[in-house]
């Protein structure tokens, strides 16, 4: 009995520790930039200005709008590519393959996740750059399209793994009942399995989005690292993560520029939180309707 109690406490601590770690990291980021955020940050300029010039001698500006739009544009394109491919692959692996083929496919897809992001960045820089210039007549091949395709390919394995797990968790009785009613396998997938595995599939997509928003080195190399609002997918952009990565090393600890970069970190946290929260509310709302 005492062992049970002790184990329960240990498991409870592990559960709380996850929340504790997330909060501590957020607090660390917030406090590292707090002096600048509270005293000198102009929220209107920070969130709405497109001019990010922190190293100017006479006129320092800390506007992150162009960077935020850069992150959002690359992530949206990545999700446009990753979600259909990822969910489609998850359905295929889960429902339409069995035995050896299934195991082989799962292993190969997980291999795609094992490729380091700097290698993806290299592929974007060396292989996709000239291809985009040649096939699409773009003036430069390092742009939203390049970054978006890379991030999409990086997110697909995550969506497939977790999506496949979500579909596997749906009891076989659902499938059997549906087939017994005369539905085809595709109708079973769309009308029975998707609604049943809805929250798991959404979690898969959210983790894919999280990967895409947080990706640093691949977008640093493949998007052209340019502070501007893109007018087409063939324009270069800069993401929030790449800005932090490329500039944090040169700042003196505690300087305004250093703290402004931590303010960007807070912005990234908030962005991810908003994405996750809205998706969670959508799932709850849809569930509430039934």
């Amino acid at each position: 009995m005492a062992v049970e109690r002790a184990l329960e406490i240990v498991v409870r601590i592990c559960g709380y520790s996850a929340t504790f770690f997330v909060f501590s990291i957020f607090l660390f980021v917030l406090l590292s930039g707090s002096d600048f955020i509270v005293n000198r940050l102009n929220p209107g300029e920070f969130l709405l200005s497109t001019e990010w010039v922190p190293t100017s001698v006479t006129n320092k500006r800390y506007g992150t709008l162009a960077l935020t739009i850069g992150t959002l544009s690359v992530t949206s394109l990545a999700m446009l590519i990753a979600v259909p491919f990822g969910l489609g692959a998850a359905v295929f692996v889960s429902e339409f393959t069995a035995g050896r083929t299934k195991e082989l496919l799962k292993v190969v897809i997980e291999l795609l996740a094992a490729i380091p992001s700097v290698v993806w960045g290299f592929i974007g820089l060396v292989i996709m750059n000239p291809l985009i210039i040649e096939w699409l007549g773009a003036p430069i091949g390092l742009n939203v399209l390049n970054g978006g395709v890379l991030l999409g390919l990086m997110s697909v394995p995550i969506i497939v793994s977790i999506g496949e797990d979500a579909l596997k968790a749906v009891p076989d009785s659902y499938r059997e009942a549906s087939l017994a009613m005369g539905a085809t396998r595709w109708q079973t997938v769309v009308h029975v399995l998707f609604p049943a595995a809805r929250s798991g599939l959404l979690a898969a997509v959210l983790l894919g989005v999280g990967r895409a928003i947080g990706e640093t080195i691949a977008v640093l190399m493949a998007t052209g690292h340019s502070v501007q609002i893109p007018h087409s997918v063939l324009d270069s952009v800069r993401t929030l993560t790449a800005t932090i990565a490329s500039e944090l090393g040169e700042t003196a600890r505690g300087s305004d520029h250093y703290q402004a970069l931590f303010a960007i970190g807070v912005l990234l946290f908030t962005l991810t939180f908003v994405v996750n929260l809205s998706a969670d509310l959508i799932v709850r709302g849809a569930r509430g309707q039934r």
Binding site: P139, S246, E247, E250, A252
Partner: protein, 309 residues
């Protein structure tokens, strides 16, 4: 079926797994211990390590110096890394490097920070000269460019966004749009270019593609017909075209070479520095003296830069 001493667990896929036997655990522990011991052993008993960080322009030369110095003094190891001049100076302020490489002057506020945080004044050592060259794609027909043209292209208040405003038609370039390739803001090359071409009070026009290193600029320009970029003279390749530069309308257009940079005729020639906090002592002093000697300066020349003397 006879009972076995090993428990057999089945997971959902039906694969059978054995729980670890005691001998497996012992073997794993032994391997870990061996790895730890192997990692901790040292071949040389006392070795000085000099940390050297900063300018990407200097990083290849710094690496060449470090490798050659191993043959001069095998007991001294030098760890070289890039990251940009700004990164090197920030590391000097934070006290994590012995020598900071820089392709620009040190600022007054950085000087103060080094004095206040390390208690010593920064000492600058001029180790080589460099020339900033304007690179364009090899199919670009432009033959000369003025410093004011560069300011018009790169500067915030400049309005030259198309190759036609520079009176050229570039084949293979869609809409004749000038694609500016620049460096990230931690780069000394970036700062030097801003000071020498745009004026210290001005800033770069946003929307340039900001690359990480000197070599990346040249690589991207070689692949992009519409591009213009600036980088060190040591990074020129056969895949790009260097443009001669004139200081103003009256001055002649000077081709960037070792001689024109040494004589000062070429408008964008600069010193490359190594900074230390306080006067260099001991092994660091010996290393810096060697760099400024004939042997060290020969390596500068071999790398495509201009010797300091």
């Amino acid at each position: 079926m006879t009972a076995t001493t090993q428990a057999v667990a089945l997971d959902s896929d039906g694969a059978a797994r054995r729980t670890a036997k005691r001998s497996d655990i012992a073997a794993a522990l032994a391997c870990t211990l061996l790895a730890l011991i192997a990692g901790c052993s040292r071949s040389e008993s006392s070795r000085t390590l000099i940390q050297n960080k900063g300018s990407d322009t200097l990083v290849n030369v710094a690496q060449a110096w470090a490798e050659n110095y191993r043959r001069v003094k095998p007991t001294v190891a030098i760890a070289v890394s890039g990251g940009g001049s700004g990164t090197g100076i920030a590391a000097l302020i934070n006290g994590t490097v012995d020598i900071a490489n820089s392709s620009r002057d040190i600022h007054a506020d950085e000087r103060e920070k080094i004095q206040s945080q390390t208690g010593k004044a920064v000492v600058e050592h001029k180790v080589a000269r460099d020339a900033i060259v304007v690179y364009v794609h090899k199919d670009n027909p432009i033959t000369q460019i003025k410093v004011s043209d560069l300011a018009c292209v790169y500067g915030e208040k400049g309005t030259c966004d198309s190759w036609s405003s520079l009176n050229v038609q570039v084949p293979g370039c869609a809409d004749q749009k000038i694609i500016r390739i620049s460096r990230q803001s931690n780069s000394g090359t970036y700062e030097y270019f801003r000071e020498a071409v745009l004026g210290k009070e001005s800033d770069f026009k946003l929307g340039s593609r900001d690359m990480q290193g000197s070599k990346d600029v040249v690589d991207l320009v070689s692949k992009t017909p519409c591009a213009i970029g600036y980088s060190g003279i040591g990074y020129a390749t056969h895949e790009v075209k260097t443009v001669c530069l004139s200081k103003d309308d009256a001055a002649p257009c000077v081709i960037p070479t070792i001689d024109s940079a040494k004589s000062g005729e070429y408008p964008l020639s600069r010193w490359l520095y190594m900074f230390t906090a306080g006067d260099a002592q001991g092994e660091v002093k010996a290393y810096l003296d060697w760099i400024l000697s004939a042997e060290g300066q020969k390596i500068v020349a071999d790398s495509g830069f201009i010797p300091s003397s």
